[in-house]
């Protein structure tokens, strides 16, 4: 799993940063605009989707994870997985409370 040596110090060019900055600003604008439009159940979904894409952009490019070792990517995956487990399994209790008798 050890990466070739060149990964050690892949210097990301400023052009990439400018593109990502622009993408993030567009993302913010769209999420604000989207909240003014009544899309019913889709509003929170879209808001979260935009936030997630912005977050992945920051992680991949600003935090250089795109060029990082598999170990770093695995670590981030574990963190995200556990975050979802904490939320998901706690909701498993809250959602099913209404089902049966209390």
């Amino acid at each position: 799993m050890s990466e070739p040596k060149e990964h050690a110090h892949h210097i990301v060019s400023p052009k990439v940063y400018v593109v990502i900055l622009f993408a993030l600003l567009v993302g913010t604008a769209t999420t604000v605009w989207a909240s003014y439009v009544d899309l019913g159940i889709f509003n929170p979904i879209i808001a979260l989707a935009i936030a997630c894409t912005k977050a992945t952009l920051v992680v991949l490019f600003f935090m250089h994870v795109k060029y990082a070792t598999k170990l770093t990517k695995l670590t981030i995956f574990c963190g995200g997985f556990l975050f979802i487990t904490l939320i998901g399994m706690t909701l498993a209790d809250y959602i099913t409370r209404a089902w049966g008798q209390w």
Binding site: M1, A8, Y17, I20, F62
Partner: protein, 255 residues
């Protein structure tokens, strides 16, 4: 996933590491590491693990937010209308730009541009302070309107929204008392989440100040960039937390 140790692979002797002209043991190489690159890699991995603890720390808050948003949705909508989108949006722009300047700073450090590094760090510092400034404006507005939990928390702007400019602008209908009562849970979460985020910003800005001081003395532009890189990771993480906080707290439903 057997991750065989790096040392066995750096068959090329440590001396000709990427940086030109460094001897085998530059001053910043700690004694227990075999090579500069192993040290950088290790500290980077350690920083990521630390960021995981921060992810789980905010995870608890997001779980609470998710549950109470489902339980008291009308109260969350009304309370979220009290927050001003221009200020929130501006804050998001400030933080994204500060993330950009931080990334540029890391680039300057990697390419040994001292003046560029100092400029980027100062820009990040100013943008961070700007963010906190706007936050204090928003917090003071909450204190004026008594929207701070258990400090004579007043439901007035939810019971008769016409008396409240923000609620009137959002075109809110008066809430019954028991729904309005639960807006206090929203503001509890608002202060907990943005307060914890602001605290992380303050810590970040303090370290940034220290770094600017060291960068002016040319510390980070002689090949040893790990400190700047790791701080960059922390700063981007704090920006990501805000990227999630802004839509969840400010944009619950504005139509």
């Amino acid at each position: 996933m057997p991750d065989s140790p790096l040392i066995a692979h750096t068959d090329s002797p440590v001396a000709n590491s990427a940086h030109h002209g460094d001897d085998a043991h530059p001053s910043y190489l700690r004694h227990h590491f075999e090579s500069v690159e192993q040290q950088a890699d290790t500290t980077n991995f350690a920083m990521w693990l630390f960021l995981l603890t921060e992810v789980m720390f905010f995870g608890g808050l997001f779980t609470a937010y998710l549950i109470y948003r489902n339980w008291y949705y009308p109260a969350f909508v009304a309370a979220s209308h009290q927050l001003s989108i221009p200020l929130g949006g501006l804050n998001t722009l400030l933080l994204i730009t500060s993330s950009f300047t931080m990334a540029m700073g890391v680039w300057c450090a990697e390419t040994r541009r001292k003046s560029g590094l100092v400029l980027c760090l100062c820009l990040t510092f100013i943008l961070g302070l700007g963010f906190l400034g706007i936050k204090t404006i928003e917090y003071s507005e909450k204190f004026e309107k008594h929207h701070v939990p258990s400090y004579h928390y007043s439901l007035n702007s939810f019971l008769n929204p016409d008396s409240d400019p923000a609620a009137k602008a959002a075109g809110d209908k008066p809430l019954p008392l028991d729904v309005a009562r639960h807006t206090e849970v929203y503001f509890s979460l608002y202060f907990a989440m943005t307060g914890m985020h602001a605290l992380h910003m303050i810590i970040g800005i303090a370290i940034l100040g220290f770094m600017i001081f060291r960068a002016r003395a040319g510390a980070y532009t002689s090949g040893h960039v790990t400190f700047v890189e790791n701080f960059g990771l922390y700063w981007h993480f704090v920006d990501i937390v805000w990227i999630f906080l802004f839509p969840l707290l400010y944009l619950i439903s504005r139509h």
